[in-house]
Each structure stands twice: as C-alpha cells, then as structure tokens.
C-alpha cells in the first residue's frame, strides 16, 4: 500500500480524494471538482485506471468514474 502511495502524484491524489469525498462522477465533473481542465486530468486518470484504483461504469447518459476497493483503501491510508 505504501508503494502505491509513493507512486501517486499530487494530481492523482486530488482525483482520488474528489471521488472519495463526493462520490462517483463523470470525467468532466471530476475535472471541475479538482479545478482542472478536462485535458489536464486525462493522463493522470488513465494511469489511475491502469493501476486499478479507478474504473469506468457505463450508464445511459455516458460514463461514470468510480473508486475501486483498492482506490478507497489508498484514499483512507
């Protein structure tokens, strides 16, 4: 777990924290929550997804970003 924490940069930590505090969000909503532009969160978000900390759930109007169990543990630690 500590290894994961060391690999997460400030932007990624903010994204995880925003999902933890306010719940699942659409990608644009997540950008707004962290006061960033959509382009700025694209790369860090992809890395979080690759690390298995965040996953996308499809729904009628688009897709939603949700913290995985591992992602929740990282935020709590």
């Amino acid at each position: 777990m500590k290894l994961f924490n060391a690999q997460i940069d400030e932007t990624q930590r903010q994204l995880l924290q925003a999902l933890w505090e306010k719940g699942p969000a659409m990608p644009l909503e997540l950008a707004v929550r962290t006061f960033m532009l959509p382009d700025e969160i694209q790369q860090p978000l992809q890395e979080l997804e690759k690390a298995g900390l965040v996953e996308r759930h499809a729904f009628k109007g688009g897709e939603m970003l949700v913290l995985t169990k591992l992602g929740q543990e990282i935020v709590r630690s």
Partner: protein, 223 residues
C-alpha cells in the same frame, strides 16, 4: 377479527414489524450518509426503496431464524436483530439454522451475507445511476437556457468563497476556463458543472427558472 388478532399474536407479527422498522431506519441512515450531498434525492430513487425493503426483509429473515433457535420473543430481541442483523449473518456463530437437507449453518449464514452484499451493491449502483441521469437532464436544461456570460458570473460567485486546498486556486478557475482554447459550448458545460458541483443543484434550478421567467416576460412585452 379475534381470529386474525390471535393469529397475528401467535406469529409475533408485531416483533417482525419492529425489526423491519429498525432495519429500514438503519438503511435510511446509511443512504443519507453515503449520499450526503443529495440525501433527499437519493432517498427518492427506486434503488433506495429497494435497499430499504431489502434491509427490512433480510432482518425479518434473521429474526425468524433467531426465534426458531429458541430466543425469547421480546421487543428487545426484535430491536436488537433490527440493529445488528448484518453483523449476525456475517459472524460464523451457530445462529442461523441450516435449511433442511442443506449444509452447515455457516454455509447458510455466509450465503445470506454474500447475497445481501451483492444486492446492496446493486441498489447503490442504481441510486448512483439515477442521480447521475438527473444531473445530466439538469445540465442539458441549463445549457439551453443560460448563456456563457451569466454562467461565468454565477460560477465566479460560487467559487469566490472557496479556499484553495490543492495546487489549483478555485478563485482563478472561471478565468482559466474562459481563457482556455475550448469551444464556447464546452466552456458553458464546465461552468454549469462548476455551479452544480461547488454550488448546488438547487442554485442551478433557480437560475433556469429565472431565465425561463425572463424569456416569458420578454415574450409578453413584445406581443
């Protein structure tokens, strides 16, 4: 009538109702704390209704099992089961009686626990989806009714009071959006989301209502 009352008393219906009520209240409190940003809207969804119902039903099932083991049928038992039934099906104590012809009590308890966890996750996903769909509808309405200038003004007001908690300063965010190379529609969308997320859905609804009134008044004046 007397027969019905006797039957109800014989089957401890009052106790089951008490357990169901306590378990339902417990579920409501869980929903309210999980969806703290929109508790009332979350409670109005079908997923929430299902979760409350499930809690009540599972708690009654556990009460039935508890009474079958010979536990005294009292109000305290009913309230206790209503509060602690989730813990009871998760413990591996010999509490839940095996179904006839089935394996051990542990297996039954574990299956109940697993089934409830899955159903609970399903209900939460349903609530999430309903809330997100509602947000999408509100965003679409706002985009049709409000212009960039008004959205920027309101978003700026909403963010003015926020303190920076990360590297990005909230007070510069509106300017950052306006200065970006995105098209006007994308800028409007981000501003709507800013008002929605850092303000509230109620604020955005008020803005839409004001804009609708304004348009209606303008129409009446011209006609």
């Amino acid at each position: 009538m007397t027969t019905l009352l006797t039957w109800l008393a014989g089957h401890h219906v009052g106790l089951y109702l008490a357990t169901a009520l306590v378990a339902a209240l417990w579920a409501v409190s869980e929903i309210v704390s999980t969806f703290a940003a929109q508790p009332v809207r979350a409670l109005r969804t079908s997923g929430a209704l299902l979760l409350v119902g499930l809690n009540a039903a599972f708690a009654c099932l556990v009460l039935g099992a508890a009474l079958a083991t010979g536990l005294a049928p009292s109000l305290w038992t009913a309230v206790g089961v209503g509060l602690a039934w989730q813990m009871l099906i998760r413990t591996r104590i010999n509490f839940i009686q095996p179904l006839p012809g089935e394996g051990s009590s542990e297996a039954v308890g574990f299956r109940l626990d697993e089934m409830y966890t899955r159903l609970q996750a399903f209900c939460r996903r349903q609530i999430d989806r309903t809330l997100v769909s509602e947000r999408v509808r509100l965003i679409e309405q706002a985009l049709t009714m409000l212009d960039l200038e008004e959205l920027a003004r309101r978003a700026h007001l909403v963010l003015a009071a926020l303190l920076a908690t990360g590297p990005a300063d909230p007070r510069n965010y509106v300017q950052k959006i306006l200065n970006s190379e995105m098209d006007e529609e994308s800028k409007e969308l981000l501003l709507v989301l800013t008002i929605l997320d850092h303000g509230s859905p109620a604020l955005l609804r008020d803005m839409i209502r004001e804009a609708e009134r304004g348009k209606k008044d303008a129409k009446e004046k011209t006609s």
